[in-house]
């Protein structure tokens, strides 16, 4: 089994496209959002996936991943089979099941980018289970990250999020990741600024492959440039429709180029009741991650 790669970042940080790109490497397999470290057991995650009182669709990504890896395709029938397969493993921990997925992937490196991972206790759980895994800290400027989360909220995908929570979430997640990184073996951890990756993928990708000990042949790199071919770049069957970022599914192509200029200064446009600005802590961490404007 090849050790997995965990992409750590808050939601809205280009993780879907980066995961799909790396996952398209012939020696890798990029997962959908499996959220395997959210609950203690697989049963807990499956039970969470209920309408009204739970998080509907919480296990869609996992079902799609199992359908793909175990049953070779994503159809209504294989999603049902995946659910049964998962029900048989209700007592397993997320880590145990993740290991089984890695075994199923064979020589391919499993790549996980579940945005639920960068909570402190979940990072610890991942590290306990996979002490030799690789970790990629992915970042995006705090303003578009928060704006993206705010839009998702406004469109009804997230509920009960206060205006100030977006910034707090960006700060908390990146803080957790940077703190975690200082404990790791240097070969295990790398930082990637999402904007730089999107502007210069031809420079970044060979380096990422070199770090991950994946082939750097032009053929492999060319395959990585086609994230739209990921099995999770499209909607799933009706019984597991999403399980990945809807924005990525709408437009799964690698759009190479400079991202829109953003600023650390200026009022937060998603806070409507008063003038609000990024806190000194957010600014300090943003500077640390290379966002000086």
């Amino acid at each position: 089994m090849r050790e997995p790669l965990f992409i750590l970042c808050p939601g809205g940080s280009f993780s879907s496209i980066v995961c799909a790109v790396i996952g398209q490497h012939p020696q890798a397999f990029g997962l959908s959002e499996v959220h395997l470290f959210v609950q203690e057991t697989i049963g807990g995650l499956l039970d969470l996936d209920t309408p009204f009182f739970g998080r509907a669709g919480a296990s869609s990504g996992l079902k799609r991943a199992v359908a793909e890896l175990v049953f070779g395709a994503q159809t209504r029938d294989t999603i049902d089979a995946a659910e049964r397969w998962l029900q048989e493993r209700r007592k397993m921990t997320g880590g145990q099941l993740f290991r089984e997925l890695c075994d199923l992937a064979g020589d391919r490196m499993i790549v996980d980018k579940s945005p639920t991972n960068p909570k402190r206790e979940r990072i610890e759980a991942i590290y306990r289970e996979f002490p030799n895994a690789k970790f990629l800290h992915l970042s995006r400027h705090p303003r578009p990250t928060c704006r993206s989360r705010h839009r998702a909220n406004a469109s009804g995908r997230h509920r009960g999020v206060a205006d100030t929570d977006y910034e707090a979430m960006w700060l908390d997640r990146h803080h957790n990741i940077t703190e975690f990184s200082s404990r790791l073996d240097p070969a295990q951890f790398m930082f990637l600024q999402g904007e730089w990756f999107l502007e210069f993928p031809e420079i970044a990708l060979p380096q990422i492959c070199e770090w991950l000990e994946l082939s750097t042949t032009p053929e492999a790199i060319a395959q990585m440039m086609k994230p739209e071919l990921s099995p999770f770049a499209v909607l799933g069957p009706d019984n597991a429709k999403y399980g990945n970022n809807p924005g990525f599914i709408e437009n799964p192509h690698l759009r190479i180029g400079k991202t829109r200029p953003e600023t650390i200064d200026g009022p937060l446009e998603w806070v409507t009741e008063r003038d609000a600005y990024f806190s000194d802590q957010t600014r300090g961490l943003a500077y640390q991650l290379g966002y000086d404007t």
Binding site: H174, M190, F191, W196, Q207, I208, W211, Y287, Q288, D292
Partner: protein, 394 residues
């Protein structure tokens, strides 16, 4: 020329720079430079009385154990006797030496005298930085009107170098210059985006700065400042500092050691592996930031002897700053415990054990000899010679 050993007897190790009672705690003494000359270490000291603002300079000759053997007050307008003693202290085999004292450059060797005269003739209100090589000298200071200026000269008419490329501002300040051959390197502190290092070719009529390293060598604000630069056999060694402690420090703030090679490319000697436009950067020494120790520290001093290089890593001991835009650009905040590392090839490093006090004060200069490392730092008192000697073990 008076033999230097005789001078030790004449000056007798007495402090001839200070007379009369002084409040010891009001004077900060700092070693500004040290060099190994004729079997002894020659140190220049600057003593600042924080109550009066008065600054005096001193040339001191230390024996291999660090004991002061002779001292000479350095005057801005030395008479012929003072000059002769200074020249004698430096010795006939000494390098071409200039010493910065307030707004004046003092020549410590006869060869340096014409250069000092030319630069002093510019009439600068102050000189903040001085760099010198065998053939070239550069000074950064301000005109009488307070405008920052940078001059380079090889003994002919000084050439003013254009600073507009450096985009200096309240938060971006030129804090380090160094010359290798005819190339001038200039490091700009930037606590928000990370330091920049530029270079330009002196003697070129249209000298213009070009970027060599930018955004803290792509480690951004964690590499806020270049805290030390030293020419070495392989190129220009650069030590970094995060500069001040944010209220919520996260991650690894350890300083890095970088090398700008003679071909103009650069390499990571010790530091954080990272993706970069130049390719995947892994530390050539396999040492992580801070030479493997997490924490906010700076590479404060560097010295070499033959092919050996020694660096001093010093911990931050200042107060926290909420907003990095208002960070005081004061490397003196790195005045905590010191670790010394030695290498002969920049790849294998070993830590040198020592008994330096943990509150030694900011390391301001290092000098390496065959057997020992002289650690010059800041100290309190009008008469102290703040130098510790650390023996190099086998």
């Amino acid at each position: 020329m008076i033999p230097t050993n005789d001078l030790d007897h004449i000056l007798g190790g007495a402090n001839n720079a200070e007379t009369g009672p002084r409040n010891a705690s009001s004077t900060i003494s700092s070693v500004t430079a040290m060099s190994w000359v004729d079997g002894a270490v020659l140190a220049t000291l600057q003593r600042t009385d924080v109550l009066t603002g008065g600054v005096t300079s001193e040339l001191t000759r230390l024996d291999p154990k660090g004991h002061r053997r002779a001292s000479l007050m350095l005057n801005a307008a030395p008479d012929t006797t003072d000059q002769a003693i200074a020249y004698a202290l430096v010795g006939q085999n000494g390098p071409c030496l200039l010493h910065l004292s307030g707004a004046d450059l003092l020549a410590l060797t006869p060869e340096a005298a014409p250069l000092a005269g030319i630069i002093n003739g510019l009439g600068l209100s102050r000189i903040d930085l001085l760099a010198q090589s065998t053939d070239w000298c550069a000074v950064y200071g301000a005109t009488s009107g307070g405008t920052p200026v940078l001059y380079g000269t090889s003994g002919a008419t000084p050439v003013e170098l254009p600073l507009d490329t450096l985009a200096l501002s309240d938060t971006r300040q030129l804090n380090n210059i160094q010359i290798i051959g005819d190339t001038l390197y200039a490091a700009v502190i930037d606590p928000i985006a990370g330091f920049d290092v530029y270079h330009c070719t002196l003697g070129n009529g249209s000298a213009a700065f070009e970027l060599v390293l930018t955004k803290g060598a792509r480690r951004f604000a964690i590499n806020a400042a270049v805290s030390g630069m030293m020419p070495c056999e392989q190129g220009l060694l650069i030590g970094t500092a995060a500069l001040a402690n944010p209220s919520h420090p996260v991650g690894d703030w350890g300083p890095e050691l970088l090398l700008i090679t003679q071909s103009g490319s650069w390499d990571l000697i010790a530091g954080q592996p990272r993706f970069a436009p130049e390719g995947l950067l892994l530390p050539a020494s396999s040492q992580m930031p801070g030479m493997g120790q997490n924490g906010n520290a700076a590479i404060r001093g560097m010295a070499r002897h033959g092919t050996s290089v020694v660096i001093a890593v010093q911990e931050f001991s200042g107060s926290s700053h909420e907003d990095r835009r208002t960070v005081a650009l004061d490397l003196s905040d790195y005045s905590g415990a010191v670790r010394l590392y030695l290498s002969s090839d920049l790849e294998d490093w070993k830590q040198i054990p020592h008994r330096l006090p943990s509150d030694i004060g900011a390391v301001s200069s290092l000098c390496m000899t065959q057997d020992s490392i002289f650690v010059g730092h800041e100290g309190l008192g009008p008469d102290v010679v703040p130098v510790h000697v650390v023996a190099l073990a086998d």
